[in-house]
C-alpha cells in the first residue's frame, strides 16, 4: 500500500446532494478536503446525470431546481471530486482505506473528520420470483432511465409500496414507454383528506400531483391496495400474479420494477470514540430525501468545522424536522395492510439473493433452534453473508426473525450482519497494490 496521506482535514464520501452541499460549505473555509464518489460525476442517484447531454427525462420543477442549485455549488467550490474512488474502511488507528477503482490500487488517508454522504438503499420485500432476470428495483430502473434517457423496451410493471413507484411510472410514460400499471400495496388516497391536512409541505404535494397527472394522461392505472403474490417465468415473459380486495389479476410483462421504500445505506458504518470524528449526512443518516439531504450536508460541514476549531456544533436546522414530519405523514399514508410472514411466503421464496437462502432454510433453522440469535442466522444459514453484505436481505430476515421470536422485539439488520469493514466489497489485489505505481492517479485535494 502507498504512504498515508496526512494533510486532509475532512474526507467527504459521496457526491449526491448531501455530499455536494457539504463540500460547498467546507470549500468556503480554510480546510483541506478530499471528496470521493464511486461514480465518475457528482449527482448521486436522485440527480443521476445523463451520459450524453442530449438525453434528459421529465422531472418536476422542484427536482430540476435543486440540481441547478447543486451545479452552481459544484462550479463555485474549489473542491474537486476524486471520482471512481470508494471508501473501504478504517484501520485500528483511524486511517481510512480507499479504493481507486480506475487504477485498482488502494489509498490510505488520515483525515481528522469523515463525512459519510453515501445515500440510501431500497427496501425490496421478499416475493416468489423477485430474483428472476428482468426484475429490477424501481430505483435501479430510474437511474438507468436518467443515465440513458431511454426506458427499457417491452411491457413494464412497476410494483411495491411508496411514492417512488409513482414517480418512476410517470417518468417511464414521459420517456415513451408507459408501464402497463403501477401496483401499490398501500391505499394513500383513502386517507388523502387526512394526509392533506397534515402535509404542510407544498413541494411534496406539487411533485405528487405532477407525477399522478402524468400517469393519468398516459392512462396508466394506479392499482392501490394491490400486492404481488408471485412472479413466474413464462416462455419468454414474466407472469406477475397480483391480488387485491377486487380479486386477482395476472400481468404478462417483460420487466418488473420493485420498490418497498428506502432506508439508510448505513451497513458497516460505525461509531467511534477516538479520532477521526465520523459524521453522517443525508439519506445515509436518515432517509428523508434530497431536499433534506442538501440541508443535512451543509449542517454536517458546519459540524466538521466546529470540531476542527474546537467549538460546539450548532443545533439541527428546523428544516430537517419539518421534512421528517412530512416523510412520516407520507409513510403513514402509504402504509400497506400486508406484511410478509413465514406463514404467507412459500418455502422456496428466496430471502438472500446473493447466497440463495430461502424461507424454507430459515424455517428449518428456527425449528432446530427457536431461540437462534441473529448472528447465528447469518453464520449458519449464510443469510446476509454474500456480496451485498445484507443490503437486500438483512432487514427482511431480521423482520421475520422478530416475528417468529415474539413480535414485540425489533431485531435490527446490524444485529444480523455485524458492523465491520470493508463496508463495501473490495478486490484483494487493490489492497495489496502499491499506490505509488506510476500509473496510479493521485487524488485531487484542495490544500490550505
Amino acid at each position: 500500500m502507498s504512504d498515508v496521506i496526512r494533510n486532509i482535514d475532512v474526507l467527504v464520501v459521496g457526491a449526491g446532494p448531501a455530499g455536494i452541499a457539504a463540500v460547498a460549505r467546507l470549500g468556503r473555509s480554510n480546510v483541506s478536503v478530499l471528496w470521493i464518489d464511486q461514480r465518475n460525476k457528482p449527482g448521486g442517484a436522485i440527480h443521476r446525470r445523463p451520459a450524453t447531454p442530449a438525453t434528459s427525462i421529465a422531472l418536476p420543477n422542484s427536482v430540476k431546481a435543486q440540481w441547478q442549485r447543486l451545479e452552481v455549488l459544484i462550479t463555485n467550490s474549489p473542491v474537486t471530486l476524486t471520482p471512481q474512488t470508494t471508501f473501504v474502511g478504517l484501520d485500528s488507528e483511524g486511517v481510512a482505506v480507499l479504493e481507486d477503482r480506475i487504477s485498482g490500487a488502494s489509498l490510505q488517508v488520515a483525515a481528522r473528520v469523515i463525512i459519510f454522504a453515501i445515500g440510501a438503499v431500497e427496501r425490496v420485500l421478499p416475493r416468489p420470483g423477485w430474483t428472476l432476470p428482468n426484475v429490477w428495483t424501481a430505483g435501479g430502473m430510474q437511474v438507468m432511465l436518467k443515465e440513458t434517457g431511454e426506458a427499457p423496451k417491452g411491457r413494464i410493471l412497476v410494483a411495491g409500496n411508496g411514492p417512488l413507484t409513482v414517480a418512476l411510472g410517470a417518468q417511464l410514460a414521459a420517456a415513451g414507454n408507459a408501464p402497463i400499471a403501477v401496483v401499490e400495496a398501500g391505499n394513500p388516497t383513502a386517507k388523502l383528506q387526512q394526509g392533506l391536512r397534515l402535509l404542510s409541505n407544498p413541494r411534496l404535494l406539487i411533485e405528487a400531483r405532477y407525477y399522478l397527472n402524468t400517469l393519468s394522461r398516459h392512462d396508466v392505472p394506479w392499482k392501490r391496495g394491490t400486492r404481488i403474490v408471485s412472479i413466474e417465468r413464462g416462455e419468454d415473459r414474466l407472469h406477475v400474479r397480483t391480488t387485491s380486495a377486487r380479486g386477482d389479476e395476472t400481468f404478462i410483462v417483460d420487466h418488473v420494477a420493485l420498490h418497498d421504500g428506502i432506508r439508510p445505506n448505513s451497513f458497516g458504518l460505525f461509531e467511534r470514540k477516538s479520532a477521526p470524528l465520523i459524521i453522517r449526512a443525508g439519506d445515509c443518516r436518515e432517509a428523508l430525501g434530497a431536499v433534506s439531504a442538501e440541508v443535512d450536508g451543509a449542517q454536517a460541514a458546519a459540524e466538521a468545522l466546529a470540531h476542527l476549531r474546537g467549538e460546539k456544533p450548532s443545533p439541527t436546522p428546523a428544516r430537517i424536522e419539518a421534512e421528517r414530519r412530512a416523510q412520516l405523514v407520507l409513510k403513514e399514508l402509504f402504509r400497506p395492510a400486508y406484511t410478509p410472514t413465514l406463514e404467507n411466503l412459500p418455502d422456496d421464496t428466496v430471502l438472500c439473493r446473493c447466497e440463495g437462502g430461502t424461507v424454507g432454510t430459515f424455517k428449518a433453522m428456527l425449528t432446530r433452534n427457536p431461540g437462534i440469535s441473529p448472528r447465528e442466522v447469518k453464520l449458519n444459514g449464510r443469510f446476509g453473508m454474500g456480496s451485498c453484505q445484507g443490503r437486500f436481505c438483512a432487514d427482511n430476515v431480521a423482520a421475520l426473525l422478530g416475528q417468529a421470536q415474539g413480535g414485540d422485539v425489533t431485531i435490527e439488520a446490524s444485529q444480523l450482519t455485524g458492523i465491520r469493514w470493508p463496508i463495501r466489497p473490495v478486490q484483494i489485489s487493490s489492497l495489496i497494490r502499491d499506490g505509488n505505481d506510476a500509473d496510479t492517479t493521485q487524488p485531487k485535494t484542495r490544500t490550505k
Partner: protein, 73 residues
C-alpha cells in the same frame, strides 16, 4: 451515437461515451447473463470481469476495446 464498442462474452456491444457497461449491455438487448438489479453498486448482482478486474457493470464506464465477461461463481 458513437461507434465505440467493447465485447461482452464475445458479443460486440456499442456504447456512447460516458455510459456504463450496464447501460450499453442492456440497450443491446437480447438474452444476456447480466443480472442488473439496483443500479447503484449496492446489490453486486451485475458483477462482471472487465479485463482482470471484477467490477459492477452499473458503476464501470465502458471503454473502447474492453473485454468484458459475465462473472463466474
Amino acid at each position: 451515437m458513437t461507434s465505440q464498442t467493447f465485447t461482452f462474452d464475445g458479443r460486440t456491444i456499442a456504447f456512447n461515451k460516458g455510459e456504463t457497461l450496464a447501460a450499453a449491455i442492456l440497450r443491446a438487448g437480447g438474452s444476456t447473463p447480466l443480472a442488473y438489479f439496483c443500479g447503484i453498486g449496492s446489490c453486486q448482482s451485475c458483477l462482471v470481469w472487465c479485463g482482470e478486474r471484477r467490477v459492477e457493470a452499473c458503476l464501470t464506464l465502458a471503454t473502447s476495446g474492453a473485454i468484458v465477461s459475465s462473472a463466474n461463481e
